[in-house]
Symmetry: none
Subunit: 234 residues, 4 copies
């Protein structure tokens, strides 16, 4: 038998990753057995190990894919949305309203796992750093354009936004009664407060964040994150 076409290879990898993600999301990393994943992927153990050399590697694959997807979405939102804040809102809505709570749990699981396994950690940080860098550069440009008034360094702002996002995700994963829909507006107001967009009468005026901010923080097209997704499927 000749070597599988790279195309088939990639598809197979994707299939396994899908199965793994489904299992991990459903039951967590440690409660999921390799056999569970094989069953879900309708593949034999041997076939699975031809593509991922260990369970840890599989986790890395998920981390890579999830994080790349996140970066992608951020990027896409930045392109499509009218303003930086709108983009943020789109992404936040996606992850805390449209996606099921289980996805938030998977994110926690990933972060926690990254804390314990060198390889996962490396993967996780590398991508996180890239996302932060992207956010930072967007903010820097907005500042340069005079559209963001905050005196805080762009990286600090990016980190603050990241913290809010992580906290939101954690809370939803953890608390079944958490109402993301109700919390998102004040959270976006907070972000608006951090950015201190020029040309408004302050972040805490009477207007709703969307009305106030929709046009105020235009942003450049960020560099794409597709490379990470490609890296994964390469």
């Amino acid at each position: 038998m000749p070597k599988l076409k790279p195309e088939t290879q990639r598809a197979r990898r994707e299939q396994i990753l899908n199965a793994a993600e489904a299992c991990f999301t459903r039951a967590g990393f440690h409660q999921t057995t390799m056999q569970d994943i094989c069953n879900e992927a309708k593949l034999s153990a041997g076939a699975l190990y031809a593509h991922f050399e260990s369970k840890e590697d599989l986790i890395c694959g998920i981390v890579r894919r999830e994080t790349a997807a996140f970066a992608e979405r951020l990027s896409a939102a930045a392109t499509d949305a009218k303003s930086f804040l709108d983009a943020l809102r789109d992404v936040a809505e996606h992850y805390t309203i449209h996606e099921p709570r289980e996805k938030n749990r998977l994110f926690m699981e990933i972060g926690t796992e990254a804390t314990r396994h060198a390889a996962v950690n490396e993967t996780f940080r590398e991508l996180n750093t890239a996302i932060l860098a992207n956010l930072t550069s967007q903010i820097a440009k907005a500042k340069a354009n005079g559209q963001v008034g905050s005196k805080l360094p762009p990286e600090t702002i990016a980190t603050l936004i990241g913290i809010l996002g992580d906290g939101l995700c954690w809370r939803r994963a953890t608390d079944p009664d958490f109402d993301a829909g109700a919390l998102l507006p004040p959270v976006l107001d907070i972000i608006a407060g951090i950015l201190e967009p020029i040309g408004t009468d302050g972040p805490h005026g009477e207007q709703a964040y969307s009305a106030r901010l929709s046009a105020s923080v235009p942003h450049d097209q960020p560099e794409t994150f597709t490379k990470f997704a490609e890296k994964e499927t390469a």
Copy 2:
């Protein structure tokens, strides 16, 4: 060996919990074996199981203790500090600067575990709810006293503060380069912005958060959380 004094019993429980916490902090729940904990506690397996009926129960014990300690600290800070914001800063400094990063990881681990095990989940949520309620009531009082101007419901404010805390914790656990010292001031500024303390020229003026806020939000003595600590050691 006659019946142990309740006092000794409690000490033994504490000793086991200490060992378990050390192990869990070092290696995570799933990587820690009961034997590891026995070794750390210098106790036999049988002795351990006389105090905790399962590994899960041990995790619940840790959750209870950690969360109770957190509530306690929040409560103490509220009593000691000059203002609500100062109290928050004290607590935040403790958990993101004084405590080792490993403690933040343990917190993540706890939250993640709560996501998967019914018993852990129940324990976790019960205590989390109590903490949020306490925070909420403190804020409500401050509003009643006219010291907090925000129009947001107290519970929403409490939740927002919680999200920032969780996010901070997550970030530090996850990112070895994270500089909590640098992030804490802006985070507290954000909180100040949320509270909109009366008698200042707005949350985002020139003054540093400490200067601006130190005397602005006095607060009443919150109800103590000691009951949870007692519950654990009862």
Copy 3:
């Protein structure tokens, strides 16, 4: 503290044996823990081990007591009943009708255990042998008196009766639908057939076994088995 009075000692032993028997009957030897027995006897582990040196020893105690009780009953029945067959019927009725099925199970458990543990085996066989000897001597006397016509050696007859009894017990222990009341008459007819009592028109005539046999096999007072019970409580 002075040594316990022998009387108290014996009572304590009895108390433990009662508890053990209750537990063993309820759940079997292997499913019963020493702690179960301690709880049932309302005694500490240490106190129990002051009287029985191991779980096996406890089983031996039960074997001794149960078997002695059986011998006693056989003996008493021989004294009270009008005929040997009546005595057998009384005993059989007791063990397969009056006693709960659980007792039959305990008997099986005892026999099975005797098969595996040297000490239990010795105890079990010693007493079984004595019972068989007693039965044998009763039959021998009946033959000598001309009341039993069978040409089979008395010991063989005794063994055959024993086999029927064991089989009956086994069947009841094993089969919840077993109707001992319906089976006992034919079994006693069989025994009558084995004995071939003189002065009847054969064992399988029209008469019911009791009518046919009630007066036909008078028997002497057998030597008592009380000594075994005493041995146990000595």
Copy 4:
């Protein structure tokens, strides 16, 4: 290693069952560890658990096999032997003379275990019922043919025979001095007495049971029990 042929699967199961039977026979269920069985079968624990899902399941497998073998033997004897009694004698001789005493112990162990574990109990009873039904139908046919004169219902006769068999087995398992060779003839005489075969001068005449009975109770071909053996190996 592609999928094993069903044939090989069956052989592997058999190999495990053989090992388990050897161990259980040697030491009893509770004294045998899964590791013992693995060693005996020269198999790893994982391999064993691929075929039997628990120790209890293994016991059920043994019960099924043993009981099926017994039914088979009964069936075969009925086919081969000249008379029903001869068949019974063949089977009895096999189990109480040819087979080692240990097999009798295994039988006791099985029965005792059936008393405590739901799954084992169900398996045990199901097969026991089938055997009894087969015996019953054989007897019913013999009665219909006028070859059995007893007025007892066929089922009662079958149960009585069963009781004698169980008792015999119990006695041999339990008593090392038991001489089955000496007891079998009178036991068969008893059975002959129960059946009351027509055309003889009564069951307790001068002739030995074999001489008297060899031709007296012809019997039809019983339905085979092979189905149970198949069920096990299916």
